[in-house]
C-alpha cells in the first residue's frame, strides 16, 4: 500500500535525462551547416515574386517530365502561398528539353513568355506551364504537336495570342534559347541533368517534398535575416 503511493522518483530522473539528451541531439543536428551553394545565372528567365526578395528559388523543368508536373501542381501552390505571395521569395523556372519530342513544348513555353519580346510576361508563362502540366499526356507519347500546344494555349488563357504562338512553334523561334538552357543545366549538374532540380539561394534541394523545401527556405531566410 505504501509503495503504491510512493512517487516514481527513478522514472522522473531517467525521463529527465532522456529528454535532455533528445533535446541536445536535436539541437546539435539543427546547428549543422547548410550545404554549399552555387551561383546561378537566371537573367532573362521567367520569374515570379518580389524582385528584391532575399530568397531565390530556381528550378530546372522539362515540359514532358511527370515529376515536374507533380511538383508544379502539388508543392508549388503551397510555396507560392507561403513564400512568394508574401514577398519573401522569388521563383524562377529555367525550361530545358532533353526528353524525346519535348523541344516544341519548351519552345512554346518561351513563345508565350515572350508574347511581347520587350515586356516578357511571366504571369502568362506560368499559367500556360501549369495548364500544360495539368493536362500533360503520357511521357512516352509524342504529344507536343502544334495542335496540342495551340489547344493548350487556347484553353489556358485568352491572353495568349494563338497566331503568334503558332508562328513561334512553326519557326522554333526559341529553340536556341532552350538548347542553351539545357546546356547550362548540364554544366550546373555536372552533365547529369535531371528534372525537377531545385536550388534555394544556390543550395540544391535533395528531397522534393513540401516539408523539406519549406524547412530549407526557412533556414535560408533565417541566415539571410529575413523577418518571418
Amino acid at each position: 500500500m505504501r509503495k503504491k503511493n510512493k512517487p516514481p522518483r527513478l522514472l522522473v530522473c531517467i525521463t529527465s535525462c532522456l529528454l535532455v539528451l533528445i533535446a541536445l541531439i536535436t539541437w546539435a543536428y539543427a546547428k549543422q551547416e547548410l550545404p554549399a551553394a552555387i551561383a546561378l545565372d537566371i537573367k532573362g528567365q521567367p520569374t515570379l515574386g518580389y524582385p528584391h526578395a532575399k530568397v531565390h528559388i530556381v528550378i530546372f523543368e522539362e515540359p514532358k517530365c511527370v515529376n515536374c508536373a507533380k511538383f508544379t501542381l502539388t508543392i508549388l501552390p503551397k510555396i507560392k502561398k507561403e513564400f512568394i505571395d508574401t514577398n519573401k521569395a522569388t521563383y524562377t523556372v529555367i525550361p530545358v528539353a532533353f526528353l524525346p519530342g519535348s523541344l516544341p513544348a519548351a519552345n512554346a513555353l518561351l513563345g508565350v513568355y515572350y508574347t511581347n519580346p520587350v515586356y516578357p510576361n511571366p504571369g502568362l508563362f506560368f499559367t500556360y506551364l501549369e495548364y500544360m502540366y495539368a493536362h500533360q499526356p503520357d511521357e512516352l507519347t509524342d504529344w507536343a504537336t502544334t495542335e496540342t500546344l495551340l489547344s493548350f494555349g487556347k484553353n489556358a488563357s485568352s491572353a495568349i495570342r494563338l497566331n503568334e504562338l503558332k508562328y513561334c512553334i512553326n519557326t522554333q523561334a526559341y529553340r536556341i534559347k532552350i538548347m542553351e538552357n539545357t546546356d547550362y543545366g548540364r554544366r550546373v549538374m555536372n552533365n547529369e541533368l535531371t528534372t525537377p532540380t531545385i536550388y534555394i539561394n544556390g543550395i540544391e534541394v535533395k528531397e522534393i517534398s513540401w516539408e523539406y523545401i519549406a524547412d530549407l527556405i526557412r533556414k535560408v531566410m533565417h541566415m539571410e535575416g529575413v523577418p518571418k
Binding site: 522522473v12 536535436t26 526557412r218 518571418k228
Partner: protein
C-alpha cells in the same frame, strides 16, 4: 494513480520540447497567441517535474490556473483560424499573423490543436492526481 503526476509532467515536458523544436530547429516564428500558450506551458515542465519527484499532488491547485490560461488561448487561436474573419478581440497585435495556419506535416492538425489537446490532457491528469491525493489524505 501513482503515475498521474508523472504523466502530466511528461506531457508538459514533451510539449515544451516540441514548441522549442518548431521555433529553434524548424524556424517557425511564434505569434503573440503562441507566446501566451508558451508562458503557460513552460513553467509546467519545471514545476510538475519537482512535484512528480516529490509526489506532491496538491500542486494541481497551483498549476491548474496555468492550464486554464493555456487552454483559453489555444482554443481562441483555433477559433480565429477556423472561422474566417472572426476575431472579436485583437490579441495578436501587428506581428506574426495568429490566424495563418502553419503546415506541420500532420494534415489538418495545426499547432493550436495540438496545444489544446495537450492542455486538456494535463488538466485531466492534474485533476485526477489532486482527487487521489485528497482521498489518500482522508484515509490516513
Amino acid at each position: 494513480m501513482r503515475y498521474t503526476l508523472y504523466l502530466a509532467w511528461l506531457l508538459a515536458a514533451v510539449g515544451t520540447l516540441m514548441s522549442l523544436y518548431f521555433s529553434a530547429v524548424r524556424h517557425y516564428e511564434p505569434c503573440q497567441l503562441c507566446w501566451f500558450q508558451r508562458i503557460a506551458l513552460f513553467p509546467l515542465a519545471l514545476i510538475l517535474a519537482i512535484a512528480a519527484f516529490r509526489g506532491f499532488t496538491e500542486i494541481a491547485l497551483y498549476t491548474i490556473p496555468l492550464v486554464v490560461i493555456g487552454l483559453f488561448f489555444s482554443s481562441y487561436q483555433i477559433a480565429i483560424q477556423e472561422i474566417p474573419g472572426w476575431n472579436p478581440i485583437d490579441l495578436c497585435g501587428k506581428g506574426i499573423s495568429c490566424s495563418q495556419k502553419v503546415d506541420i506535416g500532420l494534415g489538418p492538425i495545426t499547432i493550436p490543436m495540438l496545444s489544446t489537446i495537450l492542455f486538456l490532457l494535463i488538466g485531466i491528469l492534474l485533476f485526477t492526481a489532486w482527487r487521489s491525493g485528497k482521498r489518500g489524505k482522508k484515509r490516513r
